[in-house]
Amino acid sequence: MKKTRLTIRVKRAFGRVVEGEAVLSSEGFSPRYDLDRWSGVITRPGHELEGVNIRDKILFFPTAKGGIAAGWAFHDIKTKGIAPKALVFGVTNPVMVQGAVFAELTITEGWSRDPRTFIRTGDFVRVDPSAKTIELLKRA
């Protein structure tokens, strides 16, 4: 029996198709305020993802926080080999988009339903920017 895969639609997207392990947060994200850009670990004390390494992950954040720094920071962590595969935002800001474009990371904004209602951290997902979809491939 063919199962219909769970899919959400995103409003805006850039980048290539990627598959990887999802990490979900209900807290926003800034690579300058929250991330140790040498290890790829989220180090802000009290951040919901404190201690999580973002390398090769597909990160889900409801919002972007602060800063202009992301424009360089994504390129920096990509050069260091510790970048995530994709950034999936509910609402983002232009710096995240400019930074992702500059670093050639996949990024999306807006979602047809809250991914936290059916994707859990550790699940395997595919982000397809040209189709503007995110698909749940495999449960953790």
Binding site: A13, F14, L35, R44, K65, D76, V95, V101, E109
Partner: protein, 413 residues
């Protein structure tokens, strides 16, 4: 996007590889946002320092400079991560400092004015109503949009450089009328006095409405705020809320009335902020280990008027033994502060003044914190209380006078 003949020529390589690449980046961003066209910009302000861009960014700049890339719109730089006069004292890395010098050289080669200030709007360039800009550092953006009625999005370092090379930006976000209208109303039921109170107000509003497209409309402010008060309000709103614009009725140019600020629409929400809300913000900071040996006046850099007020508060006093007090400002402000004697008063009290930097982006800050035994960072800037936390500081917001008292007595209050 609709492209002009000139833009098509740029994409075909008519103005060289760097400009072509710059426009391609901008086109990708413009397409993401569904921008219909590019619009010209007349001033650019960029963030670029080795701490934020790393070796990859430095290599990018080296490559660009090697291709004879050149910025064609006046472009200035934001605060950086080294004050070269203080590298040893702060225990910063000489190798990284050498990279920073290289980086500055590349920028200058590409026609960038390395001014190293995050208060360009107070010291370098005052945009007019409706003027289109490409500014980076969120504090500068929210100032331009809100206080001047100029138009800019948050522009990251590479995006700002691209704008300076192509002389344009894609038209989306705060370049469009529809995003500039207030989305919710904040009734301020107290009169903020200290910068820290303006910052605490912004923290309450920003944290609870994190969105680039949220535009608060402040009502109830009964006196004309000073430039420095609006600076702290805006910087903290941008920091906690990722916000790029606010209105204040009767104060900011696109808010002569509440109806005008809202563009005739109904606000999505009304919130009220009282003095007791703000007092709870101040009471909410835990003093991790009881230490208070690190007090910071930074983020944004201090204006001359802030420098003078701080000099008056520190005059005739001494920073407590074992406590470090850092003040950051721009080259221009510092030279004026020296000419007027404010800088000497601060230094006589034992305050360290850093030029061209901001504390939260100082290179090597995490190790500096550990080496100096700084657990808590106490500041009157709500912005820096938020931004410095990736370096694992416990941060505490206090009013300016309290910061000075803590600095001079070593006693937490």
């Amino acid at each position: 996007m609709r492209l002009t003949a000139e833009e098509r020529a740029i994409l075909a390589g008519a103005r060289g590889e760097p400009v072509k690449r710059a426009l391609e980046l901008q086109l990708a961003v413009g397409r993401f946002y569904g921008a219909k066209r590019f619009v010209p910009v007349s001033n650019v302000h960029m963030m670029g320092d080795i701490e934020v861009m790393g070796d990859g960014g430095l290599e990018y700049l080296r490559h660009l400079a090697g291709q004879n890339a050149r910025c064609e719109v006046a472009i200035t730089t934001n605060a950086r991560c080294f004050d070269f006069a203080h590298i040893e004292r702060l225990g910063q890395d000489a190798g990284e400092a050498a990279k920073e010098r290289k980086l500055i050289g590349y920028l200058q080669q590409m026609n960038v004015l390395t001014t190293d200030t995050c208060i360009n709007y107070q010291t370098l360039y005052q945009p007019h109503f409706g003027e289109r800009l490409a500014w980076g550092d969120t504090g500068t953006v929210i100032w331009a949009n809100s206080v001047c009625g100029a138009r800019t999005n948050f522009e990251s370092g590479p995006a700002a450089m691209a704008a300076a090379m192509t002389r344009r930006v894609p038209e989306y976000g705060f370049h469009l009328d529809r995003h500039r209208k207030g989305t919710f109303v904040v009734e301020v039921a107290f009169q903020p006095e200290d910068y820290a109170e303006w910052g605490a107000l912004a923290k309450l509003v920003g944290e609870s409405h994190q969105s680039y497209y949220a535009v608060p409309v402040f009502t109830g402010i009964r006196r004309a705020p000073t430039a420095d008060e609006l600076k702290h309000l805006g910087a903290a709103l941008a920091s906690y809320g990722s916000m790029a614009m606010y209105h204040m009725i009767g104060v900011t140019p696109e808010a002569p009335t509440l109806a005008a600020a809202l563009g005739g629409a109904k606000p999505q929400e009304r919130m009220k902020v009282t003095r007791s809300h703000v007092e709870r913000v101040f009471a909410g900071y835990g003093n991790a280990d009881g230490s208070c040996n690190f007090v910071v006046f930074s983020g944004p850099q201090l204006s001359l008027l802030e420098m003078r007020r701080l000099a008056d508060l520190f005059e005739g006093r001494r920073v407590h033994s074992g406590t470090t007090v850092l003040v950051t400002t721009s080259n221009g402000v510092l030279s004026a502060a020296r000419a007027l004697g404010c800088a000497q008063k601060l230094e006589a009290a034992g305050v360290t003044i850093l030029e061209g930097v901001c504390v939260y982006i100082l290179q090597n800050l995490t190790r500096m914190r550990a080496a100096n035994g700084w657990t808590n960072m106490i500041s009157n800037s709500a912005k820096i209380v938020n931004t410095i936390t990736a370096h694992r500081f416990n941060t505490i917001l206090r009013r300016t006078r309290d910061c000075v008292e803590i600095a001079c007595t070593g006693v937490f209050r």
